[in-house]
Symmetry: C2
Subunit: 448 residues, 2 copies
């Protein structure tokens, strides 16, 4: 049933927002007064609900669009594209089908919003920026989890609601999105929002302080950046040299601490990655794609003692992220659990049952223990594939913390935020990773 | 006690080698007749031993040398270098000390060889090539495991012996090198070789057939390549386009199968890596360092059915490599084993002891089971961090095989050989990974 609303004039809404946002935000929780004053049922007590006046719909780029742009610019026709994809064993029609499913779902969503009198602006991921965030009362991500991460990355305030709709449920897990059934029945979701049949979920996010990098740390936007990494590293090093020459002292510029302008919704991952050696004059440039190169660093948990570590990387995640990369790093396959129990049986002499039922139960319980709540205020760190030997410690491989500090001992490492933004994190740099309530992301959980 | 030798003239040695190499190689094992005819003890029966006439000593580049070259070219003095390193918390004197330890150990080795009348050629890793391999009767790697991998990478014959000496035992594990005590007492090792107090260890290696890549696959040498990866990808794609236009049919050039000119001593690793989008005209170039981007592929073990997989990568290793990256991918920390046993206890109701002794024993036994013999003719595949959901299978996460085929479904993936050479492995390409006796690498194991 479609609700009717009392509408305030645009100007008064804006004034309300300007004056009232702070006040409004203090009332968060199920009783939040929305931007408009919704009266869903004129005859009963007004129920609180949520109906934004302006919604930005941020859409993903489908694989089909990507391949098409790539080959179109190479001078190939649509027919050539079909043929090339077919040869690779990819299905042109499959890609087009997925593209159409996504596009249709976006249309469905946009229509549903407009039918409620909501002003909608559809924005491709490449066009999405801070101006769009400022304009919108709420932002809707139309894609998969990756699109949600992108959308969240530009929302730094805890007041602006973000809602994710999974536009390709067959292909995308959509952990961060509304349940799959709302994809084709979006008006139902809107209705629940309007009626207040939902709760706010404030997802905790991670903040990073960085010091010892020489200059204000420049980031590489892994989806949109114009520079190749080599150019980026070069530019970074050149700036370091210039800056040092200008100040006259190496020390000052080096040890400055900055709070990075990012908030991580899933995780921070630190590790060696591409290393492009400095390309200077006649010095022969090297390209090192040392994917498996061990990362060297020192780690201090909750201001504890520094420990040297060597591993394939370090993950620090939120409750939200505990279902993402961190989960895949830590989970066990039934094959491994079976083997552990088998050895436990032979070592202890106990008659531990090794039937598939028990193995599945133990495996599931183990893996489920890795997941925790998105509004939990703790971080979870995991040392991925630790290399333990005479030199490197073997204490906790993973655990909860309020705060984790990491000092890089890497040749050319990155700190990757939600798989989308990367910062140089080389020898000597120190990252302090923590959480603050003001960094929360406001999302919705609909009632059943 | 230093042996004395009967020496053949160089010409006759060369002739002996030319005529006799094939015959000689058939006699491999403890009774191999060496290039010279050694008579270690003139009064007793001649013992078979090994004493090459010409040895190439391939040395690693130390960290100190690397940093020095980097900053020297930037116009910084040695004093600036010291300061810069100090600020980063690195120790200039520490790097210099490690460098000197390495250099002194190399000198010790070279002197020991020359004292035996062996002709020695010292070659930096950048100068090491096929010509050096042809020249030498045996090759000695002076560095760590990385240097051994480099040395092995250019030895494609199973006849040419390779010996590794760990020149920085404090810092390097040296799994592929002689035991650490020989680093400072190299004459002892030489003596054993001379007396036949050793056995040959033929380490099995992996070969790769690749099809569906469009052109003869070009590799990126991860340590020495001049091109940035972006330029490399660009060049690769340009050549693909040209080649297609020339032949007139896309199909022919695409489906050609090649046996790659590499033999892997440790492992082949397949995964998504740096993706530099095609930079064409006005199309905005993207840089994607999707370190954690899932790799999509299909895998068939021992010609079994194809299975779709999504994971953070796939490792296929040899017995030698089972102690390297594969080991780190698969091993469990005590913390994880304890948790499994704890859950097993609660699920079964059995009183499984959870003391640190048992946990350590179970963990050690589990991890030791991951290691197998370098001369074992089987491959070992491991699906790293599998992502299991509705779409992707959950069969064996790892196991032995004679043959593994992989079809890429990746956007921009690499096949990385021993962490040193990388091949593009994109959507549609198929790699067939197997072993052949003729690919063995001849190494030594000294008797105690």
């Amino acid at each position: 049933m479609v609700c009717s609303f009392l509408r305030m004039s645009r100007r008064s809404v804006v004034n309300f927002v300007r004056l009232g946002t702070r006040a409004v935000s203090l009332l968060y929780g199920n009783s939040l007064r929305p931007f408009h004053t919704p009266v869903c049922n004129a005859s009963s007590q007004p129920k609180t609900g949520f109906k934004p006046g302006k919604v930005a719909v941020v859409t993903k780029t489908t694989r089909y669009e990507f391949e098409q742009q790539r080959y179109l610019y190479a001078g190939l026709s649509e027919e050539d594209l079909k043929q090339l994809l077919a040869m690779k064993g990819s299905s042109y029609s499959g890609l087009l089908e997925r593209h159409n499913i996504h596009t249709n779902n976006v249309e469905h969503i946009v229509k549903s919003l407009r039918r409620e009198g909501i002003e909608v602006r559809v924005v491709k991921r490449g066009e999405y920026d801070e101006e769009v965030v400022r304009w919108a009362d709420a932002i809707l991500s139309a894609g998969g989890d990756g699109t949600m991460l992108l959308v969240a990355s530009k929302v730094l305030s805890k007041d602006k609601p973000v809602v994710g709709v999974n536009t390709d449920p067959e292909r995308s897990e959509g952990h961060l999105c509304l349940p799959v059934r709302y994809t084709h029945a979006f008006p139902e979701a809107l209705e629940k929002l309007c009626r207040g049949e939902f709760r706010w979920l404030w997802r905790q996010r991670i903040r990073v302080h960085l010091e010892g990098t020489g200059i204000n740390p420049t980031s590489v936007d892994l989806h949109e950046q114009q520079l190749s990494l080599q150019q980026h590293s070069q530019a970074h090093r050149n700036t370091t040299m210039d800056s040092q020459q200008r100040t006259g002292t190496l020390h000052d510029s080096f040890s400055k601490t900055s709070l990075l302008p990012i908030r991580s919704l899933n995780e921070i991952f630190i590790g060696e990655s591409l290393s492009s050696r400095v390309k200077l004059n006649s010095f022969k440039p090297h390209v090192n794609i040392l994917l498996h190169r061990a990362s060297y660093y020192e780690i201090s948990v909750d201001d504890g003692p520094w420990e040297k570590q060597k591993s394939s990387g370090l993950s620090i995640c939120t409750g939200t992220g505990s279902k993402a990369w961190s989960y895949n790093i830590n989970k066990l396959a039934e094959q491994a659990v079976e083997e552990v129990l088998k050895i436990g049986k032979s070592q202890t002499g106990l008659d531990i049952p090794l039937n598939s039922d028990i193995i599945e139960k133990v495996t599931d319980e183990y893996n489920e223990s890795l997941v925790f709540s998105p509004d939990d205020r703790r971080l979870f760190y995991s040392i991925r594939e630790p290399i333990v030997n005479r030199v490197f410690s073997s204490s906790q491989q993973r655990g909860f913390a309020s705060r984790v500090s990491v000092r890089s001992r890497c040749w050319d490492a990155c700190m990757v935020v939600d798989g989308g933004t990367s910062f140089e994190f080389n020898d000597g740099a120190i990252a302090t990773i923590s959480m603050s309530e003001e960094d929360q992301l406001r999302t919705v959980v609909l009632e059943h």
